[in-house]
């Protein structure tokens, strides 16, 4: 801040306040510190996804030419396959790390007062990320994405009154077509980023305001026994190292398991045997299937959908059930509720893949 250039910039931008904040901010250091990095990892994958998404925009053509343009990206354009693969993998890894971040936050009870809005905004971000994934899944318009989206858009249609109207609106007609791709594209690159980025900024701002939450075991220690490290440079530098490791994991996945492209979607062909949603929707997909078997007719799926949404509402509202920093009956119930949710998600996801026809494996 002593150089004339720095002074000149600071006078106009006032960034010294940010530097001051970063220098004085401290991060708790304890045996659970490992979990602090998952939010940053999620943010990193989001950044890579945005960057590769912009590169894909240069060649992708929504509408009826969608499949051909993705085919050209995958098989003709130099390193096009790598950009597409990196985009898809970063999206999946982002959602994966967001799940880890959410559950670690949950079990470390970081949703408690005064961090309720961090919890809410985090869940909104995760849900938006899943909608990002759903809208992006259709964009290549290959057979699997076509039929999986068809099934996916059939789910809200079971909701009485507004369901069919909503599905038709999203599809742009009674069937999936080039119009659907255009709508999904607009949703994917304009609407969702416009919603996601403000919520993300709110989430990051709230972290700055409240700081990192310490687990109860740390809070029980006397003040002078609690260890902290400066956010800048110590924690920030470690975050950078973790990001580099995440980058390598991403590069490995993208290069060694390049994202495939199936044959072009053909509405007249029978649906592939292995039709399935992305892994993060597999649990809800499987629950709906199970309810559909137990209770015949559309009511079965509707009941499954209702139960799933009820679970989500309870999950969101947990800071109100377990608001205080002390061990009590509600704290234990919240932990058990979390374990049940993790168990159901894992079990139904694994079950969903296990019962898929062999072609999907």
């Amino acid at each position: 801040m002593h150089s004339p250039v720095a002074r000149w910039l600071d006078e106009r931008l006032g960034y010294s306040a940010l530097v001051e904040l970063a220098t004085h901010k401290r991060v708790p250091e304890h045996k659970y510190s490992f979990w602090y990095y998952w939010g940053g990892i999620t943010l990193f994958f989001f950044t890579v996804m945005c960057f590769t998404g912009v590169l894909l925009l240069l060649y992708y053509r929504p509408g009826d030419e969608a499949y051909q343009s993705v085919r050209s990206i995958t098989y003709d354009i130099q390193f096009g396959w790598l950009i597409r693969s990196t985009h898809s993998w970063s999206a999946n890894l982002m959602i994966g790390s967001a799940f880890v971040h959410m559950f670690s936050t949950y079990f470390l009870k970081a949703y408690r007062r005064p961090r309720e809005f961090l919890w809410f905004s985090g869940i909104v971000l995760l849900l938006l990320a899943m909608v990002f994934g759903f809208s992006g899944y259709l964009l290549p318009m290959d057979d699997l994405s076509y039929f999986a989206t068809k099934v996916g858009l059939g789910i809200p249609a079971v909701v009485p009154v507004v369901g069919p109207w909503f599905s038709n609106l999203v599809r742009g007609g009674p069937d999936i077509s080039g119009f659907t791709v255009s709508r999904f594209f607009a949703l994917h690159v304009v609407v969702l980023p416009a919603l996601f980025i403000p919520v993300l900024l709110l989430h990051l701002g709230l972290i700055q305001k409240h700081g990192m939450s310490s687990p109860q075991s740390e809070l029980d220690k006397p003040e002078n026994k609690r260890k902290t490290i400066p956010f800048f440079p110590n924690f920030a530098m470690k975050d950078l190292a973790v990001w580099l490791i995440a980058l390598n994991v991403l590069a490995f996945c993208a290069a060694v398991f390049p994202w495939p492209l199936g044959p072009a979607a053909d509405a007249l062909k029978p649906a592939p045997m292995d039709i399935h949603p992305e892994w993060y929707f597999m649990s809800s997909f499987e629950v709906l299937k199970l309810f559909g078997k137990w209770i015949p007719g559309e009511f079965g799926e509707f009941a499954g959908l209702g139960l799933f949404n009820l679970g989500l509402v309870l999950w969101v509202l947990v800071p109100f059930f377990d608001p205080e920093r002390r061990a009590g009956a509600w704290a234990r119930r919240a932990t058990w509720f979390g374990l049940v949710v993790v168990g159901i998600l894992l079990f139904t996801t694994i079950w969903g893949y296990a019962v898929l026809p062999a072609a999907a494996h």
Binding site: Y75, I229, N234, M237, A241, I245, A251, F252
Partner: protein, 478 residues
Amino acid sequence: MNYPVWDVPFLGSGWVIGIIAIIHVLISHFAVGGGLFLPMAEAKAIREGRRDWFPRLEAFSKFFLVLTGVFGAMTGVGIWFAIGLASPEGTSTLIHNFVFAWATEWVVFLVELTLAAAYYYTWNRIPDKIHLRLGWAYAGTSWLTLVIINGILTFQLTPGAWLPHAGSGNEPFYFFQALLNPGYFPSLGLRTLACLSLAGIWAMVFFSGIDGDADGPLKERLVRWSARWVVPAYILMPVFFVWYLFTVPESHRALMSLGISTIGAGAFTMVTRMSLVTVMTSATMAGVVFFFAWLSPRTLSRSQALGVLFLALMATGSTESVREFLRKPFVVNGYLYSNGVHIGDVDHLNAKGYLASSPWVPAATIATATSLPTPELGERMFQGQCLACHTLDGYRSLRRLLSDRDGKAIGNILTMLHDHKPDSPYSKFMPPLVGTPVEIEALRQYLDRTVNGKLTSPVAVFPPVVSASPADSARHKG
């Protein structure tokens, strides 16, 4: 052909070698680099009067001895078992050429292991000067093991001046031409740098266990000193890598660019993709070490240090895979194909028959092979010529690669592989399919039945060959 086949379902024999080899490289390179690290650290401690390093170095040398002496040695022998089973012809070629090198290697191993044990057990029991000499002696012998094995590994891709004498029966006389082949020196440089890097990384893993609160200054010095060992590799590896690439024959180097614009050819583009992983891990590892270890040495945790080791594992695994992929379709470039067929035998095997030349095929089967193609006969062909690189249902699954193809389309691919024309894309990666028309038809039937569940196209009929009998069957190899 001269040996029985080794069928490893799903994983494939190649991956058995690969898994053992990646673990082995990670440990054996540490054995070489750590051999230099320990006496250098000890010398520094003595020179600078840091006696507080001694207990840590003693503990580190115990860890080193157990890891390299037990796991390093076990995986080394494991590679021998695996390559002997997966590629017996290739192993036989190497043994015939390098028997003297291996004899030397075993002697050096014995000295190396003895010195490693002596170094650990004599901490604080003999004068510093003599103990240090033991360390330097270990460093020299462990590097000597690399000097020898590096020649054998590089020989497979760049046999150089040895190649004109291949198959002459005089190959062992060209031992030094084979050992000091064109790829030898750049590869030795690359591996030596990798050894230094791995020594520093393993040391960071070990020293990250020091309590930063209780022994902050000690941990800081040891971790930072270990981190420095990554620097030479970061600076010099690109230089040696480019040098190495220029020693690789142009036709093989071209394989690296196959995957730039496409993933269309599936496994064919794997070299490019694995090279990308190598570049990424090598380029970023120093950054991770800098951020984790150099800037915050006192708070370096075991999980963070293991993160660096994980990157080293990725770098090692991908680099070794690229080296293996670059050699395709050979085990020994220009001499022996990856399916165990010698280049010089191709015409003979096409005329007389592949199965007829194998001592492991029953005489009755050979008699059938002369005129009656059957899927059972085809399975023998599959085991002999495909299993070295493919499995039915797992790695490079033939059921997956040939899916959506009927019997006729499978036949066309087999014909292309048999003809092995220079302009065929398959010729760059795959060895020729050898055998008589009856044998190739038999393989087609086997693959058709395996992939499609039944024979989907008419079977070819061949006139019976009257003179064929087990006694007449030529045994090309005795």
